[in-house]
Symmetry: C2
Subunit: 340 residues, 2 copies
Amino acid sequence: MKLRYYTYDLQLKHTFTIARGSRDVNTVVFVELEHDGITGYGEASPSTRYDETPESVIEFIKRIDTGKMADPFQIERNVQYLSSLSENDTSARAAVDIAMHDWVGKALGQPLFRIWGLSPEDTPVTSFTIGIDTPDVLIDKIKEAEEYPLLKIKLGGDNDEEIIDTIRSVTDKVLRVDANEGWSIREIALEKIHWLQEEGVEFIEQPMPADQLLDTAWLREHASVPVIADENVVSMFDVPGLRGAFDGINIKLMKCGGLNAALKMIYTAKLMKMKVMLGCMVESSAAISAAAQLAPLLDYADLDGNLLIKNDPFKGVTIKEGKLILPDEPGIGVTKTGGM
Amino acid sequence: MKLRYYTYDLQLKHTFTIARGSRDVNTVVFVELEHDGITGYGEASPSTRYDETPESVIEFIKRIDTGKMADPFQIERNVQYLSSLSENDTSARAAVDIAMHDWVGKALGQPLFRIWGLSPEDTPVTSFTIGIDTPDVLIDKIKEAEEYPLLKIKLGGDNDEEIIDTIRSVTDKVLRVDANEGWSIREIALEKIHWLQEEGVEFIEQPMPADQLLDTAWLREHASVPVIADENVVSMFDVPGLRGAFDGINIKLMKCGGLNAALKMIYTAKLMKMKVMLGCMVESSAAISAAAQLAPLLDYADLDGNLLIKNDPFKGVTIKEGKLILPDEPGIGVTKTGGM
């Protein structure tokens, strides 16, 4: 088995701002896994929130001894080997995990959704994310997002009311709110949620800091819209402990280490009768199309990372009236666009 | 898609006795699912403990409108359709679920363990079950079980001490004990467990009645060997609620409705850091080989149902020094022996 990697700068269409900061470029690391004449593609989109950088991803990949990995069909053993190298480095592990899954799909000649027993018609509508911005830019972004029926709004800064008022001045679309741990006082968070419910918000993601789980459980008890965990769900082993504190979980391949972990988390959440959301970082169509293979199992999709960039080197999953359309191609279903 | 079914009497090598009763024959229902020139095999082994009989299995299969089922690749939709017909009838649903999985494996040309990313070398040693019996017959059974390094003993009647004393007079093999809900007073159950630990017992399965979950949690708190749920884990949705009350769960395809549910339960239990055991009813090599595809994920295997019968119409998984050996054949890995 051969592993190759290279960095790539995803150029953002707009400066992207959330509660933690702003940026124009997101550097990802692509992985190619070659074995038996088949090449599987993977991608890492490292986040400083989880102490990863493109450099740390490359350091991790260099530490992999492919001689200690079984053939790519043996995903369970191989992800355990990757976990044994590091409990962290989740986007780096996700890149290799995605490449293995792509390889398996290509070896079997089938898209992953089919191998997992899923029906492509069951994909949900994805939300489209609007970052924190000035009122004028927000209005431009909402106009550009015309084709997407569901908007996800980043709040948690000090101008939440201004953002919502601006958005509601131009659209009555259903909104989802991601507070990115922005509200640290539970009574204030509850007031925000009551107000947001009146503004037509479908759910609130990670209203409070991850280390305030008891406050979040109190909030969920009092809130009348679903509260979804994001920063609180990192490792797959976090999922069972979130029962009661949240109504659902937001899984991201880059946080949990890949498709193998994500599938386990989805099944676990479903058996706990919790809602399942699948989110993303700013990613190319490689990682987004990998995540989209799981979309038929989701309650909420937030797989728009590839829509935010202008130099996507892959094509794969597409969107029609907001709904994710899975290509009938093997593995993660992507081809290179020739942009690299 | 065509579904065929027929009943078959599995002849037991020995009269089989557990806390609930005795029998010499176990009637199962085989299912054949034909689609696109490929035939998948399935099997239902109905249990009166869960209100099923061969007749009820056939009644359920007759209710299936194959026109409402998607192609056999779409397992997730199809198992939901089957569940919509009945919350119960789990062995009947398992038969169709197994046949779909066998079909998928054959369509992809791969055994299920490979499709699930598992390594066949990771299978554990299976236990071999010794039913409740008189001392002389017990001694004969222990001798016949010479090739199996792990024995599972059925207790929970009124002669537990006599059974263990008899077994320990002829073997010092590691024992697993299944009490089949036989002990209803928790202090007495704890005394039994202390005694069994001294007798070299690895774990205790379902010591108390399923409706005494709080007593079982108390027992587990005080016991120093693992306590595994059996009758307490039926539906896959039971698993999250068993955290804290048990150290592990015993999954059976015939209780949970098949491989799709079993895989979800295994992943959930692993994320809860609970032990996973896979058990069986008296079944032919069809259902046992299906279950064995999951064996690389297990802590404990108890897949001996086919070893207890003398007219097995299928061959598939074999056993070498107790360890499950998975055939490298597609699907559930079985072929008909010509005995039908």
